[in-house]
Each structure stands twice: as structure tokens, then as C-alpha cells.
Symmetry: C2
Subunit: 298 residues, 2 copies
Amino acid sequence: MTTALKDALAQAAAEIDQALDAILPPAEGPEAPLLAAMRYAVIGGGKRMRGFLVLEGARQFNASRQAALRVAAAIEMLHAYSLVHDDLPAMDDDDLRRGKPTVHKAFDEATAIIAGDALQTLAFGTLAEEDTHSDPAVRAELVRCLAKAAGARGMCGGQMLDMLAEAATEPLDEVAVGRLQLLKTGRLIEFSAEAGAILGKAPMPQRLALAAYGRDVGAAFQIADDLLDATASAEDTGKRTGKDAEAGKATLVGLLGIERARLQAERLVAQARQHLDSFGERADLLRDLAAYTIERKS
Amino acid sequence: MTTALKDALAQAAAEIDQALDAILPPAEGPEAPLLAAMRYAVIGGGKRMRGFLVLEGARQFNASRQAALRVAAAIEMLHAYSLVHDDLPAMDDDDLRRGKPTVHKAFDEATAIIAGDALQTLAFGTLAEEDTHSDPAVRAELVRCLAKAAGARGMCGGQMLDMLAEAATEPLDEVAVGRLQLLKTGRLIEFSAEAGAILGKAPMPQRLALAAYGRDVGAAFQIADDLLDATASAEDTGKRTGKDAEAGKATLVGLLGIERARLQAERLVAQARQHLDSFGERADLLRDLAAYTIERKS
């Protein structure tokens, strides 16, 4: 990872945590456990790759950093809700996430369900508030696109395919796995890259280029994640590893083998960077991030 | 119930179901079980009181019925998601809802969690789409208000208080129960009444009057619900009854006794109708609905 990227990621993570702290209600009043669980789920953890994409996308078009931080916080809340629900006993049944107990372990199952629900609500509410952008057309467009990325033909659809794949007797083929991952994680990463262009009212070709960049980075990231699950230890990654093979989960790594999957990820990174060809050197951190997705160790 | 109200409710329910059918993706493709579960949860059931409030509110200000139907559908999806999650084993653990098996019984627990999540997403997405209103400021305002009504200081907060009350050793007092119910069901009913005014760009005093009407109707409705749970049979209501007392749940009926609770509901209905004093006879169905909340048998 380049020093510039490392510094920018750390800076973004700190600022996004500040934004989340300001947006999330304090854990006070009779419903304090809910608010504490929401904060626990989303503050102070994760690489903030999605939020970073928002900030860097927005910077290409001189959109306000304050606005971009609110959108980044909203996407991180949406992402966090999906992890909280995905970790539930009826879903992936995970005890460990980002190196600490999952929400239903640290609190209880009912609290985890409700906290995930309320995080999703707050993500949409945050986008719709005037503080996010003075132009309501921008706010409505952000809500519309996030809903598309997160709904039944996006992230939720991907979650469902993942559950069905685990229960199926026939393994998924490469095309089906690719679609599953595009829905489950790709669409939200694509939207993260696109959101900055929406905030900055970018011309459509540049908005589409950023979205395409996000789509490829997301796909590369997913393969890298599966490679880590197949090859790294829980100590390195802060979550249980080897669980894909254990659960008989279909991944591109399982279908292609480690070497071909790595090559595929490299092709995606190169393609992602090509989408930025019309962008100047201001997009260098985005180029670095694409390269980093397949270099990372956790 | 007046014949006019009965006809209008039936008409609204049919139109809202049509709108839901048009908005919800067909149950096709590899993720078909998710889409089927979403449809199962929200189409063809319930009184559609929330949706009816939207339609009647919109009618006061000559807002487009097509737009109002989309907002009604969005609120019914939001409401349905909350029921699906509330029925889960880790929450209220209910097998029966609207006279048929709950989603996690008809499908499975993971599908119920994801279907609830995706219904919430689609509710917000629907409000943000251009079809709902040509003015993006109206769309953004609808999203903002729904998020407030549904989030940690609204419906989700109420759900949490309900869970905490069940686990607590000290019973809640009247004030705490009132707040719980305002959050858990009141805020969304309030927003349902207000939404038509937002769609119709009503003057603020009239928008606030409709919201206040909705708040009182919601409170009366909740007491009526608890009265039914205490006095009616499952056959009458299509859901398991007597479960509040069984679960030791604090309700106003439990705290005040059946007669005083009934009087309280009647006071709320009278107050709800007073909020409509500045409205002409076009608001008669809203007046009838307020009266009906405490007369109903299911």
C-alpha cells in the first residue's frame, strides 16, 4: 500500500467515525441498549473502503467534504446493518466480526435484529436530510440509488442467493457465483463510488465511469476476500477463516483455484483503473485503492 | 362502521394491493424465494389503515391518487417488514399473522429476516422514485419523515422498549407504556396521516392537524388492539389472543382495567376528530375511521 493511500484511508476512517458519532443518537433514555448496539455495530471498525470511495469520488468533482462524510456514514451504516443481520444464528451464525464479538453475542438476538433494522432506517434518513445536500434532487437520487443497490435485486438478493447456495445440492457455476457476488457486495461498492459523482453533479459519462470502476473494484475485493478466507488465519483477519470451504460455499476461488482466481482479480483491478483514464492525477488514490484490494492481508 | 367507510376501506385495500403488485418485483429468477416471501408478507392482508390514511389525507389537498397509492404502498411495506421481524423466534415468536402462517413459518427464518430487510429498503426506494412525485423536495421530505417515524426514536425504539419491558422485573407505568406505544405504532400512523399533506403541499397548520389526528387515532387504535387481545378470540381476530397477559406485557388495558382503558380510547377518538374541525365534509371518512378504531372486532 502506498503511504499516500495509507494516510488517506486512516484520515477518512477517523473523519467517518466522527460523522457517525454526530449522526447516531447518543445511547440515552429507556431505549439506550438499542442505541448502544447501533453504535457498537458501526463505530470504530472496518476498513471504511465504501466510505473512502464516497469521499474520493466526491473530491473528483469538488463536492463538499461535509456532505460526502454524511453520505459515507450512511453507506457504512447500511453496510453495518447487513453484517449484523448476516451474522445472526439463522444466517451465517458468526461470533466474531472485526475482531470483536458480533452484535447478537455482545447484546442479544432481538437487539441485533432491531439494531440492524434501525441502522438501515438511519442510513436512508441521513441521505434525505437537508444537511446532506441543499438540492433535494440530489438527496432523492442518493436515496433511490442506495435502495436499488441494497434491495431485493441488490444486496438483499445476494444474501438470499448465498443462503440458497448453501442449502443447494448442486454447486453454483462461475456465472452464478459472479452474479451472487455482484448483488451481495458489488452493487453497494459500485454505488459508493458513484455517490460522490451524484453529490458533485458530475456529467453522466464520468458518473458512469466511477460506477464501473466501483463495480470492478468490488468484484476484485470479493475475490481477495475469498482468497484471504482460503489462505489466511483468523488472527490476521480478525474474523473466522476457512469457513467458506467448511460451509461448502461456492466462491470463485473454489471454482477456479487460487492461482486463476488471483489472475482474475488482477484483471479486474487493471480494468478498474482503465475506467479512470479520463480522470487526472487527482484520481491517483482511487488507482492505488484498486491495486490495494488484492494486496491486502486482512 | 358506516357503509361509506366500509366501501372506501375495501376500495383502498384493493387499490393498494394493485399498487404493491406493480411495485414489488415478480417472484422470478434465482432469488425468487425472497421475492415470494416479500409478496407473501405484504400483499393481500391487513386492514390497510395506514394506507387508507395516506389516501384520505392526500384527498384533502387534491394530491394525485396515483402518487398517494405509491406512498400508501411504501408505508404498508414498512409496516409489513416490522411485523415480519417482530414475529421472529428471537422476538415475539408468533406462528400466526393475519390468519395465515408468519413468514418464518411459511418460508424459513433466514428468508424472513432478509425479506423484512428488503421490504424496508423498497419502502424508501419507492418514496424516492420520480413516479411518486415530480418535485424531488416532496420525495426527500417523505423519506426523511418516514425514517424519523420508523427509526431508533420511532418504531424500532418502540420495539426495543417492548422487548426490554418483557425482560424487566418492574412493570412499566402508564407514562412509560404510553411512550412505548407512541414509538412502536403511533409514529408510523401519525406519518401515514401526515404523508398526504406532504404530497399535497398543504399549509403547515393543516399538515400538523392531520399529524395530530393520526397520533390520536394511533393511540386509540393501540388501546383497542389491547382490548381485543384481552377480550376477543383468535378466531375473531386471525391472530393469537390473550398473549399480552400471558407474556406479562404492560398495556394500558392491564394498567387501567378494561373500562377505564375503553374510556381513554373514547377520549382520544373525540380529540382526533377535533383536530379535523378546520376540514370540511371531505374529511368525513377520516372522522368515521377515528370512531371505527374503537368499534372494530378484529
